[in-house]
Symmetry: D2
Subunit: 346 residues, 4 copies
Amino acid sequence: MIKVSIIGATGYTGSELLRYLIPHQEVELAHLTSRSHVNTEVDVYYPFLKGSIDKQFTELEPEKLFNDSDVVFICLPHGHSMELAAAASAYDVKVIDLGADFRLKNIDVYEQTYKVEQAAPNLLKDFVYGLPEKYRADIKTAKYIANPGCFVTSALLGLLPAVNNALVDEQSIIIDSKTGVSGAGRSASVDKLLAELMSNFKAYNPLGHRHIPEIEQELNSSSENAVQVQFTPHLIPTERGIFSTIYATVKDGVTETDIIESYQQAYQDEPFVQILNEGELPQMKHVAGTNNCQIAVQLDERTNRLIVLSIIDNLGKGAAGQAVQNMNIMFGLPEKSGLNTIAMMP
Amino acid sequence: MIKVSIIGATGYTGSELLRYLIPHQEVELAHLTSRSHVNTEVDVYYPFLKGSIDKQFTELEPEKLFNDSDVVFICLPHGHSMELAAAASAYDVKVIDLGADFRLKNIDVYEQTYKVEQAAPNLLKDFVYGLPEKYRADIKTAKYIANPGCFVTSALLGLLPAVNNALVDEQSIIIDSKTGVSGAGRSASVDKLLAELMSNFKAYNPLGHRHIPEIEQELNSSSENAVQVQFTPHLIPTERGIFSTIYATVKDGVTETDIIESYQQAYQDEPFVQILNEGELPQMKHVAGTNNCQIAVQLDERTNRLIVLSIIDNLGKGAAGQAVQNMNIMFGLPEKSGLNTIAMMP
Amino acid sequence: MIKVSIIGATGYTGSELLRYLIPHQEVELAHLTSRSHVNTEVDVYYPFLKGSIDKQFTELEPEKLFNDSDVVFICLPHGHSMELAAAASAYDVKVIDLGADFRLKNIDVYEQTYKVEQAAPNLLKDFVYGLPEKYRADIKTAKYIANPGCFVTSALLGLLPAVNNALVDEQSIIIDSKTGVSGAGRSASVDKLLAELMSNFKAYNPLGHRHIPEIEQELNSSSENAVQVQFTPHLIPTERGIFSTIYATVKDGVTETDIIESYQQAYQDEPFVQILNEGELPQMKHVAGTNNCQIAVQLDERTNRLIVLSIIDNLGKGAAGQAVQNMNIMFGLPEKSGLNTIAMMP
Amino acid sequence: MIKVSIIGATGYTGSELLRYLIPHQEVELAHLTSRSHVNTEVDVYYPFLKGSIDKQFTELEPEKLFNDSDVVFICLPHGHSMELAAAASAYDVKVIDLGADFRLKNIDVYEQTYKVEQAAPNLLKDFVYGLPEKYRADIKTAKYIANPGCFVTSALLGLLPAVNNALVDEQSIIIDSKTGVSGAGRSASVDKLLAELMSNFKAYNPLGHRHIPEIEQELNSSSENAVQVQFTPHLIPTERGIFSTIYATVKDGVTETDIIESYQQAYQDEPFVQILNEGELPQMKHVAGTNNCQIAVQLDERTNRLIVLSIIDNLGKGAAGQAVQNMNIMFGLPEKSGLNTIAMMP
């Protein structure tokens, strides 16, 4: 049994990790830390876990926690993982950081984007970017994983085959993403109230979302030519899910067959990425509560643009699900262990 | 033109008053006060009012405000109206309080229910309970109006004809109410987030909601026998509306005809209450955004119970709409002035 | 491995059965029948099952199906199970009927309620009513199960301890139920469109819902005194879930301790029923996608009424989940096999 | 008083017209036709109109209807307006067609797009395209109006100033639109059920939506260079509203000031178009139930792209509201007559 702890277990990514980890047959929960709910029964705080768990939230005691755990998931706001990751280096424990602190390899870009100092720069090289579809081999042997951002995951899975194979103009990429509101976290604010959001729809940060440098970093490392993306996130009045509509101009001579074969080859052995058949269009709810990504690929011959529709659950493949997938890979387990949930329809 | 001010204009009842008052052809807005947004343009704070209003929120200066206004709507949490109402007594200004401070005639009951002292007990006798269907004559000449609670309005309109005419066992009344979430106000809290409430449903305060004494006060003042009610409010995952399902055992000898005639007579001249035809059932959205109340009345001969379905908009007939209706009555205007909005379907 | 078939697999109960049965480690799917989608790939019809299933819908061939199956779930509208159940009697196959044809023991009541003839009256005695909390012992050895109605399940689990122990006036029971819209099935109709239902709320069949005789049958068989219930179902603008608010007058001398102990004893060994702690209130979403039932019990000393809040997923404990629980019991499996899903929050 | 009739009054555009026309002080309703609900009381079919209307639906009798009306709104599926428009030519009646039959000036394009014959080609020149912001002068004297498509209106209002002033590369335009579900009409189908759409999001017709030629027709007639657009519509799980996110590459030398001034000048006298201030972002619900269009304009200097966010209500400025605005212009009324509704927030 793998002993697992979660640092910061009272947010949405923390609870989603529990939803995947509790039924996981190779996992034993060690510590679930919380600053504000120490000693509270987990199933009192999360009544939907009644009957599934018998533990309390505990205070974060790093030494004890690292000693008692084989792997630690860090679910803290950016800026809070660096010190913990540094502390973990002295222990025989793997770390999967669901925050943003170690995703950006360029320290200047990180500091400008997140407005905090990179306090553990020497650890950056030890962190593997946790997108199994690109870095599976490195993940297998990693001690540290930087789990990708939610929008980033949907964008990369939708674009990597096209960029990798130089099928599209690298400067023409536009990613129009829509997400359920859990991506904004569980803190109270007026603009996240049901009364404000329901029957509503809006964009946020249309020019400067923090996921832009992360998307560009990973596309550039897969491309010979420089990639620049336009990215606009929007809020759907629902709980979870990401739907990315991606546009890119196809290079001269590239055919629809080239495109479809690139996507099929890229993902043919992937357990969680499904390329839809011609004529099928993805629906966001079809992957809710799962680690799946469903992708439709179309060439618009009229405009010569590639249109990719890429859907994930922001808390699943966009956060907790992908983190558990990374854990499975790191510990040599079948990748679907604990991740064979099926979406709820209706 | 009637000069109108709103004290506390940045909450949901404040904005709903604006929605009714801006197109009201007999109304001119004087002061719209706010503690936290002084000098902010109203249409910057409320972008849905762009093109409809050109004013700023102002600080509350009671003397200036009372001098400049013919009528003042107070939209403050309970406990904050008493001092203001007392101050207004020296001015030629009418006051419509949308809070709870002057609804309960019994000071002990008020203080136990709301956990604050009744600081203006001598004003209580001057406040008319603002339910036009019961107190229209008094409202016409009132200086002070205590605007009824939202659940209370839906319950009273659904029950008064039956209780008035002693058609039902006064101890058997059960009111199972469901409301949209705007009734809980615009303050930020985790339990009002869309991510928490959507696809969800729950009861709150099933035994001790503050509207119980208000419902019983008004039913008792219309009944020879003592009335006691069971009242359970629930939260619907939507923005607005109240749907009350009311159960009461019918007294011996009372027929369905007795019941239906009582309701039809009670409301035949009411501009905002509609008794549905036999076989019709109300839908909450049919009154959203309006001052209407739609009521279906049925006798279940199998169980000998009266079932009343009574729907209003909690912000309309349950708050701002009814307040404007009261204003119209107080100033001798046609009651529908400014209140002829039609619900949005779909 | 238990060979399982589903007759009528393209409705909501059919797809929910697949959601539970596909990951069930003791189950192998035999036939999934459909009238309208014969030979269609299941994961083309249900794209949310992509990656989880590799089968086609087939035409219903009873002889072949009964020979190939250890158990058959029938998911057909009422009136269509009787002939099939009769045909199954000649085969070594168990039958779990999710429809209403064999729930009502009284033939006259069935025929009046459902307006069809009971065409297999001699089978009625062989059908066990599939509520494990009441009939577990009989279910173990049954060949035929009549799976309970969804509203009925939430009402019975909320009332059986009180009625069984004669704690409440048997004529005073009022059940005010609210359900998500999947309970109305997957057929197309204007009144189930999102544009009609969203932000809306309504009652339906307030006096004559078909689940009333089923509730009364099962309460009466657990009570010495005659039970009569008032039952009003309502539609919540969401996909799934049932929230029943139940009122009953407590008999003289019954204390809150009596009540709580009755409920705790009744369900202490039940794997899917959870009595909430004092002060906890259930939220419908906390059981969505699961076979759980959460119940809060309160005595209102002011009115001397018992208030029970009972929540289930109409497709889970109200249909497919309970059907799988019955299958597990019939085949001697642990009751939680395939049913350890955790609700999605948010 | 203007005598107004509606042909096809039982769909969503028909009911929305009633919501605007009933309180319109210059309008008197003549005939409201329906094929399926002849002689039904309008407020029985539309209970949300109870207390607002006292009329019945009637059969369509063209001669009588054209004689009795000053203006007729046609709310029929495409293909059904041509014969009616031809018949109206003999009468002194104006016609506003909310369908698509006369929007496309090129007959071949119309017939390929809508798969029906243009049966009244000689009337095409008499139809004015009913976008007041472009064709107000022509609308004033028109007998026939082709009311624009809903997506088209949001796209054109978001793009016309940029295209008119040649600020953007005419081949680079991408319109990513999201709409509430009422745009798909009121007919029953499984894919429009609440249980299928809620918590969901999807694209439809990503390459071939019928509004593409209409958008291109109107942009080309405002541009010296050929315009080609990419257009992808998506479905938001809510009742109404359109949110278009528009991308276009800015031409060399064009500055942010050029852009903002173009938009401000274009709409400075428009009663229903509001350009948001720098830093403000539109929210779809802020125009629900109104004839307003709110637009935010931003230049992304990093990518050299113009990002326009353009919101309308698909049933308001996208259909019935714009139709009433056209009527007001045709009859010399103030444009805001009957259109001064304020959106509901929350």
